[in-house]
């Protein structure tokens, strides 16, 4: 067997653009998904029954269906509502919905790990329920589950390859195009795999730096909260 990477690498601009789009999808969906996760975890833990039930339904619906099916549901669902959105937007919506459900479960575990006394202390100081969440619970909860949360976001970036199915022009779609054009399938996917590894490492490094900025206590003391 002879490997020839030159043909594949000559399509460098396409690979680069695909990788950038993958990263863009991942970062935006991470942000939206995190917001969804926090909101639904709060909703699930709250005392309003129908909100808790709705959040629970959402989480279970997403966790028990394949991501590809979710993408098609969003894709055909939106178009049957008469919304013809660009593939990028559809992919973003599907990814956000997907990662939001996993983030909900992770954040719920983080919130549950906060000792009851912390919440009581906040309430006794006169803080409202939302202020307790915001000032007392959120940051220590995120800090506790930060490794799981960030792994989930890296997984999301990898899962975005599935959105090539609705012709989002991300990294895997670029690979599909290049291999059908060059007939160098194996080489193409080796190169693309290396790209994904690089993107993963980049994201992990980014989360590590972000953690330093967001958790000053840990940065200073280096201890687990």
């Amino acid at each position: 067997m002879e490997l020839d990477f030159t043909t594949v690498l000559s399509r460098w601009p396409m690979l680069r653009d695909g990788a950038l789009l993958t990263l863009e999808l991942a970062l935006i969906a991470t942000t939206i998904g995190f917001a969804i996760g926090v909101a639904c975890a709060v909703g699930r833990r709250g005392s309003v029954r129908w909100i808790a039930a709705a959040c629970g339904f959402y989480v279970e619906a997403v966790r028990n269906t394949p991501f590809l099916v979710q993408i098609f549901l969003v894709y055909f669902g939106l178009s049957s509502l008469g919304l013809s959105l660009p593939a990028f937007t559809v992919a973003l919506v599907a990814l956000s919905i997907n990662v939001g459900a996993y983030a909900t479960e992770i954040m719920r575990a983080g919130f549950d790990a906060i000792p009851r006394g912390q919440i009581e202390a906040g309430e006794c100081l006169g803080l409202s329920r939302l202020q307790v969440y915001w000032h007392v619970i959120l940051l220590p909860a995120v800090e506790r589950v930060y490794p799981s949360l960030t792994s989930q976001f890296v997984l999301l970036m990898l899962a975005s390859s599935v959105t090539s199915q609705i012709s989002t022009e991300e990294l895997t779609a670029a690979a599909n195009f290049i291999q059908s054009d060059t007939y160098r399938a194996f080489e193409t996917y080796i190169v693309v795999a290396v790209f994904y590894v690089a993107l993963s490492l980049l994201m992990r490094a980014g989360f590590w730096a972000l953690g330093g900025a967001v958790f000053p206590r840990r940065r200073r003391l280096g201890t687990v909260i």
Binding site: Q118, A121, L125, G126, R217
Partner: protein
């Protein structure tokens, strides 16, 4: 005589089948220090927690600084602006420095500006002898220092009454001493206080009123002298066992 700052009248409270408070009544007036003593499980901590509405009562009446605590429509924030509480386990916020712990409520509840809140925090930290620990995180402090920081955090809200729930139970004798000195200073400053404590010597020394709880009732109440000359066998036995400890 003016109205009491805290009044409990015939307070009943059960956790499931367990009757924890069985008709508790007492008054605490302005500037008084009331010590709640008694065995574990006698209902002291629950009584204290009911005062700050951390537990709801089943029947009876609690008024605190004019607030009807049993009223379902009670404005919790208004009650908690008047009441400060310190817990056995400190409950400092681990992700915030001592200074940030203290400034949080004055800023977000009372809407104080940063500069004002900093001044306020420095003032209460000086009061509890922790001026040099403002920028430390709770885990960098000893238990006694953490508890003093927690007291400072409550004081920063300028409450009218302070509740102490076994605040020295997790501390060794030396650290207990430094926390008790802070409480003593507060008493000398005229703060109205209710403390659940196992420190009999301290209760005797600082309390203006001792409330001995037994089986969910105030079994015996009076000046600290009742601890030397108990009227009931239950208090006599309790004081005796505490002395032998």
């Amino acid at each position: 005589m003016t109205d009491p700052v805290v009044r409990l009248h015939e307070v009943h409270k059960s956790f499931g089948a367990l009757k924890v408070l069985d008709g508790v009544s007492f008054d605490v007036h302005r500037g008084e220090v009331a010590a709640l003593i008694g065995r574990s499980g006698s209902g002291k901590s629950t009584a204290l927690r009911c005062i700050d509405r951390l537990e709801r009562i089943d029947s009876g009446m609690i008024t605190v600084c004019g607030h009807d605590v049993a009223d379902p429509a009670l404005k919790l924030r208004a009650l908690r602006l008047d009441v400060g509480i310190v817990f056995q386990s400190y409950n400092l916020f681990p992700h915030l420095t001592v200074m940030q712990n203290i400034m949080l409520a004055p800023r977000s509840v009372k809407g104080l500006g940063r500069a004002e809140a900093v001044d306020l925090a420095r003032g209460v930290l000086a009061k509890v002898g922790l001026a040099d620990k403002a920028d430390a995180y709770p885990e960098q402090l000893s238990g006694g220092q953490q508890q003093r920081a927690a007291i400072a955090r409550s004081l920063a809200m300028q409450p009218k009454v302070m509740l102490f729930d076994e605040v020295t139970s997790a501390l060794d004798p030396e650290l207990t001493g430094e926390v008790l000195r802070v409480i003593e200073d507060l008493a000398a400053g005229g703060m109205t206080m209710i403390m659940v404590t196992h420190e009999m010597g301290f209760a005797r020394h600082i309390a203006s009123q001792v409330l001995f709880m037994h089986r969910g009732r105030v079994w015996e109440a009076g000046p600290p002298a009742i601890m030397s000359d108990p009227a009931t066998p239950e208090l006599r036995q309790f004081v005796g066992s505490e002395l032998r400890r």
